[in-house]
């Protein structure tokens, strides 16, 4: 797999074509092999054996044969950062790659990570709000691998973190909620929903930077339907609230809204240096504007969604093929965005 080529476009599951609010759904299954200590306590030999067993299982199943496998040690820090930006590996994998392994599907919609915090973490992604599709893909991989997982009748599947015991299933939806933040409704929403067993965090950065948020389930020791079904209601409720907030802005604060959208466009078009945070904020403004019919036509939406991912730091490094200092990266980013917008305006 050529990482440089991949840096030029986002994977297929990234973004929804019809709306700017839902971005993608993710399902994560955590499993450990029977008869081995969890990675935290396991010796190097044990980790090696777990790696061998899972590699063997991947190589010997028809469906998983096409997966690209990387050993942690083989990947450079830049490669690991790049895979992390694409949500395929975790932060701990970047910091300590030794004895770990990652297998990635050709479409990048499934990743299997070995010996991270647990022996096996299967992640799967789907467009928009397709939580069930993501879950079924992950579950299918767990079945196809055909390994015997450590399991107790009382608990279900055992995991190194007790917060993931039972189903070992974490599902997540990613939503773009700028109007809720701008009308100061977001914190209230989080405070209401956190005691109900949902965890909110920012997709990138801290606080409300970029206005893109991930909601996951706090409890995994629950019936599967108890985990998945609430998300379908929750997603619809949040989208409804966001749309309502946009309506309110459109009616009462039209000048502020319009300024936000056009200012974003102007800055993206003319800025010579763009930091990551700035780029997310401005693209967010434009995506909201497109959805509300204020700027550009709806068919441009996926292109801006794509731009969100390919302007990240490691993506720029892979694209240019060299290591970039902060300042140079900001320049490259601004150039990329500018050429993209100019190309788009010339085309339309």
């Amino acid at each position: 797999m050529n990482l440089g080529q991949r840096a030029k476009r986002a994977p297929k599951w990234w973004g929804d074509t019809t709306s700017d609010i839902p971005l993608f759904a993710r399902a994560k299954l955590v499993r450990n092999l029977k008869g081995y200590n969890f990675p935290l306590k396991a010796s190097d030999d044990e980790l090696e054996e777990v790696c061998e067993i899972i590699t063997y299982a991947i190589e010997h199943s028809k469906k998983l044969k096409e997966f690209t496998t990387f050993r942690g040690e083989e990947l450079s820090p830049e490669d690991r950062n790049f895979l992390w930006e694409r949500f395929l590996i975790s932060k701990t994998f970047i910091d300590s790659p030794k004895g770990k392994l990652v297998a990635i599907s050709p479409d990048e919609d499934v990743s299997v990570v070995v010996n991270d915090r647990d022996h096996l973490v299967i992640q799967s992604f789907a467009n928009g709000l397709n939580i069930r599709e993501a879950y079924h893909k992950a579950n299918e991989i767990a079945k196809i691998l055909g390994l015997e997982y450590t399991y107790l009748e009382e608990w279900g599947h055992l995991t190194s973190s007790p917060l993931e015991v039972g189903t070992g299933l974490r599902v997540a939806i990613t939503l773009h909620l700028p109007a809720l933040v701008l009308l100061r409704q977001y914190n209230f929403t989080v405070e209401t929903l956190t005691p109900q067993g949902f965890i909110f965090h920012n997709l990138w950065g801290t606080g409300t930077t970029g206005y893109i948020f991930v909601v996951t389930n706090a409890l995994t020791w629950a019936f599967r339907e108890e985990i998945i079904t609430p998300f379908e209601y929750l997603a619809n409720a949040l989208i409804k609230q966001e749309n309502k907030a946009r309506e309110v802005m459109n009616t009462h604060l039209a000048d502020i809204l319009e300024d936000k959208v056009t200012r974003s466009w102007g800055l993206l078009k003319y800025a010579r240096l763009l930091s990551e945070e700035e780029t997310w904020t401005y693209i967010s403004g434009i995506r909201m504007g497109i959805s509300m019919g204020l700027i550009f036509s709806a068919k441009e939406l996926p292109r801006f969604t794509n731009l969100l991912l390919i302007t990240r730091h490691s993506h720029l490094e892979k694209r240019t093929g060299r290591k970039l200092q902060q300042h140079i990266a900001e320049k490259e980013r601004a150039e990329l965005v500018r050429s993209f917008i100019n190309g788009m305006e010339a085309g339309s």
């Binding site: 029977k34 067993i53 010997h60 028809k62 009748e153 599947h157 917060l163 409890l219």
Partner: protein
């Protein structure tokens, strides 16, 4: 908090249960293992171990035992092939 192995769940069971608070809209009791599990435990791990054992036996030149293991491997491989899980 991270645990080291499955025995931890037996030793610290009660402590862990206190951590996992269920919300009012969920069923009162958490599910049992059988209600969660849907992957059937399968044969790749077993197959891998048998192949390693076969190699060991061949190195030791214990051909009689090796033949038994080889038959067992074939049996499992055929079973997997029937399920369409094995490529060859």
């Amino acid at each position: 908090m991270e645990l080291g192995c499955s025995t931890c769940y037996e030793t610290f069971g009660q402590f862990i249960k206190n951590l996992l608070v269920r919300t009012p809209w969920q069923k009162e009791a958490p599910p049992k293992g059988a209600e969660i599990r849907d992957e059937e435990p399968d044969k790749h791990l077993q197959l891998y171990r048998l192949k390693r054992k076969l190699q060991e036996l061949l190195d030791k030149e214990a051909y009689e035992e090796a033949a038994k293991i080889r038959d067992k491997i074939r049996e499992i491989e055929n079973e997997l092939r029937a399920k369409g899980q094995k490529g060859t």
